[in-house]
Symmetry: C2
């Protein structure tokens, strides 16, 4: 296993140079931190990554979470990890000071999450879900619920989860059937089943707090009748934790992320005494949950980027150490020539640059989204609305590109190892298995694509899309002021025009009421949108790197760093952007081959 799993230099480049996180600290919300504090948070996350998370990554895969005699067991390092994260204030890193959090900007939390995900993507789920679940209680729960749960959750004693999916409904929450019957004692009786509940039960915390979607008896049909409940695995009675009739009835045997249990839960089945406490108002559960869902979507995108980062540094180390073959220019000319390192083969260089372009481009887009969230928290009025729209607009893209292309990137890392990549001798086969879930978690690529095209592009009469195109235009205009970047700025300009043409073409179907036709190739639209969004991020990085080269007179590693940024930007523009040509051709094509097609075609 390579020691390196990410570039700290790149993380600081994005935090400080590209996104100028320090500027956020001028706002009262973040006045308790400064640049040094941000670097210290990064450092303490790296400590936990290096010393606790990364060393057990392989072992957690080999000794997966296990369900026996009614109990779920996970690797004992999980407890150490949760404690260390709690002590460093990193479970509640983005929660407000008021509820016991560290009140850090989301962009800093994102940096921390990237480190943990790259170190050991399975272990981050435990704390990530606790943070998300606690965040819902903090935002929408009563003071009583906050007092009861938040300290223990941010302190790492209690695990949090999100319980959405049910066997019969899958991603279609409209059809969930978990029920909540009111009582006179302030709680509801919960009955139902939930599947795929990550960290839904294990032996490393004393309790598990489920944020649970259910329908109050008599609630309206569909998503408008869904409420949100806190359903603890054990509830407190007279200062004691007692069983709350939440039963683990199965564990999923997964291809990857095997260290994190995914649980099949049943509530109220033992003695009809599962108690849940309503969060906020009845029937508003889905709206609340979407706060967490949107964060979780960015979180899954981040997992994609971080797994791809770990895989890239594995491939890079191997390519720098493994001799094989001769360079093409001398091949066959001297049978006694020694072998060359595989990094000297252009095809290996191409694969490595592809990985680097995906990893650093993806991370940049996710941090951009996090920053929009922070700016929405620190502005008012029109500005605030604009940042919220930008965050909304880009969230499905920042979930999808890093996961879809992350899978390709990890596959390319694996390929650099040849046969070794397929074997347990190297961590690639594990990372390849792990990352595959990310295009499914928290809404599949298909669902994200419907959200992007079917909802975001047209919402508020296209105001969000307009705001996004303006952001990109600003970057293009700035890049044009530097001669060596002009070519790339113009390329991106052409791309944005291409994207707008396609968008208009597709929206035309929506206006004619042809909804299925409008959305039938939403996934390809997402692919096209994602490529130009990452190109935008690369141009942003290119501008900063170019400015640094002009003004900072960097030497040695610093010079290499900035030159590498320019080179990788060029690579992305040369190798990835052209893919939009074929996508646009397809999206503008009049031929309809899926909508309305009979099943008989699939024989």
């Amino acid at each position: 296993m390579a020691k390196q799993y990410l570039s700290v230099r790149n993380l600081k480049f994005l935090l400080h140079e590209v996104f100028k996180t320090e500027e956020l600290t001028k706002h009262p919300r973040y006045e308790h931190i400064d640049k040094e504090a941000i670097d210290m948070i990064v450092d303490s996350a790296l400590q936990i990554g290096d010393n606790i998370a990364h060393p057990v990554a392989a072992e957690m895969d080999r000794k997966p979470a296990d369900f026996r005699d009614g109990k779920v067991y996970v690797h004992p390092q999980v407890k150490k990890y949760i404690s260390a994260m709690a002590e460093a204030g990193l479970i509640g890193s983005s929660a407000s000071l008021e509820v016991g959090g560290s009140q850090l900007p989301e962009i800093v939390t994102t940096a921390q999450g990237f480190i943990m995900g790259a170190a050991n993507n399975g272990i981050t789920t435990f704390t990530g879900l606790t943070a998300g679940a606690a965040g819902l209680i903090a935002s929408f729960g009563s003071q009583e619920l906050r007092d009861k749960y938040l300290e223990k959750m941010y302190g790492g004693q209690w695990q949090g989860t999100m319980c959405l999916t049910e066997p019969q409904a899958g991603s279609s929450l409209h059809y969930i059937t978990s029920s909540a019957t009111p009582t006179n004692e302030g709680y509801y009786k919960i009955r139902g089943q939930k599947i795929y509940i990550s960290a839904g039960d294990h032996d490393q915390t004393e309790n598990v707090i489920h944020l649970y979607l259910a329908k109050i008896d008599g609630a309206p049909a569909g998503t408008r009748g869904i409420s949100l409940f806190v359903v603890p695995q054990k509830r407190e009675e007279n200062g004691q934790l007692v069983d709350n009739d939440v039963t683990t009835i199965g564990i999923y045997h997964k291809m990857g992320q095997k260290g994190t249990p995914a649980i099949h839960l049943q509530t109220g089945a033992k003695n009809d005494n599962c108690r849940g406490w309503l969060v906020g108002e009845p029937h508003k559960g889905l709206t609340y949950m979407f706060q967490m869902m949107n964060e979780a979507r960015l979180g899954v995108g981040l997992t994609g980027a971080s797994i791809a980062s770990a895989a890239y540094y594995e491939a890079l180390e191997y390519a720098n150490e493994r001799p094989q073959g001769q360079t093409l220019s001398i091949k066959g000319q001297d049978p006694n020539a020694p072998q060359t390192l595989i990094i000297n083969h252009p095809d290996v260089k191409r694969m490595l640059l592809f990985q680097k372009a995906v990893v650093e481009g993806s991370l940049s887009l996710i941090m951009q989204c996090a920053l929009y969230g922070d700016l929405a928290h620190t502005t008012e009025g029109e500005d605030k609305e604009r940042y919220e729209l930008l965050l909304d607009m880009l969230t499905p893209v920042a979930k999808t590109y890093p996961t879809e292309m992350g899978i390709q990137s990890v596959s390319s890392s694996l390929q650099c190892f040849g046969g070794g990549g397929f074997c347990e001798d190297f961590p690639l086969e594990k990372l390849y298995r792990d990352i595959r879930i990310t295009t499914i978690y928290e809404g599949t690529t298909g669902i994200q694509s419907l959200a992007l095209l079917g909802r975001n592009v047209t919402m508020k009469n296209g105001k969000a899309a307009m705001a996004y195109f303006q952001e990109v235009s600003k970057t293009i205009a700035e890049a044009k002021t530097y001669d060596p970047l002009k070519k790339y700025a113009e390329t991106l300009e052409t791309e944005m025009q291409r994207l707008q043409n396609v968008t208009q073409h597709l929206v035309g179907f929506a206006m004619k009421g042809e909804v299925e036709r409008f959305l039938s190739d939403a996934t390809l639209y997402m692919e096209m949108f994602g490529i130009s969004a990452i190109a935008w991020q690369w141009l942003r990085q290119g501008i900063i790197a170019h400015q640094a080269l002009l003004t900072k007179n960097p030497q040695g590693d610093e010079l290499s760093f900035y030159e590498s940024k320019i080179h990788t930007m060029k690579f992305f523009f040369a190798y990835e952007i052209p893919k939009t040509q074929g996508l646009a051709t397809r999206l503008l094509d009049a031929e309809v081959l899926t909508v309305g097609v009979e099943k008989a075609v699939f024989v």
Copy 2:
């Protein structure tokens, strides 16, 4: 697990309608068979697939090949499978009658291999390798070697392998160091190590016969000094099988194909008494091995297509059974509407059509190659040379497209299952793991791409490339005679022009001696070449289906079948061909970003 893992109707369509295999049987070489015999072979392969191979596919994955106390254990069904294949005459299916084979056309053997690969891709390795190893002895070995080995190998008592890879050399056979020291007793003493030897040791046959590359003491450096040996695990002495100093020192723990052991072997290490018998002449080993390699490459392509086939039918069954969500056209309009089957979502239809297009397009290209091999065997002079060139030309493409796109196809099948695809409850996660090795086996995609562009395109002054372009032109001309196919014929014509332009542009670098530049993006060239080759196969299928619709007046399932062929052809043209636009843009771009780039760029 779905019962169906392939379309028999499609297999017979390709065998009889598209490739008219029956015509081969007019030649004396195949006069012992006819159309009925071919169908019987398909049926007996299906019997073995249904009753022996497919039922244990999951179990062979859950209980992988194991190495303990110096012995390698595999699933006991392997013995049953090998016996059934031997009894049906299918291990030696393409071997000549003279050596005890069934002397079937390669295209029939391909159909049989497709069935087995789709039924259980791990189990086919055992018989596939025996056939390949025996084929080398049959083609190049002395009568003594043939007499000694072939009957037992084709009879399933003895396993065959190919021993190429060594730890220090990997894919670069130039650097192998296994040595062979001549003795006066007609054998050589073999010393060395070989890695990743599939089926290299196991408990289901009484002996393992290694076809082993080594260098005779004093041989020339590099590939010109490599010889081929038969190195049995146990040799015969006085009618007894005795130990031949071939030791298994390790087994690889693989991500997929876990039922097939991959072995790390040492020869001559126990008592310097490992005996090997030279096959053919000294120093010609690599030339001989390439006969097997080329067949093995097509075989790996076939494995890719067959795994993708199994995954497609799993996804199709699930999509036809799983209700989830509402169709987009009624979404939200009626909260009480029942859920629809996921096959009714356009995005799911798109994913399924993509899989079908990849599976049936890939199989068609591989069968086309097999047919070229058969035609080379049954013609003379210029015709024979032309078929050999066509087979050579297309072999790396028929290895690469079905594996690279097969991986995408299986990933798309998995995606249809949502979270279930990531869990052991469905066979998708296994198929996803299994297929990942196929772009590495028998030469990675990078190596195949160098062979295509660096060798095949220019060989004999472009004669092979010319022959290929003529074949495609013939199909285009025929398609143009049918009005409804004209549009597709013209699209393919444009594609071939695009490919020729790119080819000329790249060959220009070779002519200037810029070898690295010429080949730096060979992998992208392969991708572009593959897409148009599959488009060609789809147009061929489209012509036959169109003719059938015009002349056969098909009804019911037959009508659906032919219409489905036309529809899938259209899908491939609409969704896949446009990808070449971006590839061509990149390949014609002057910017060089890999060749000559310093390592510092990868930070």
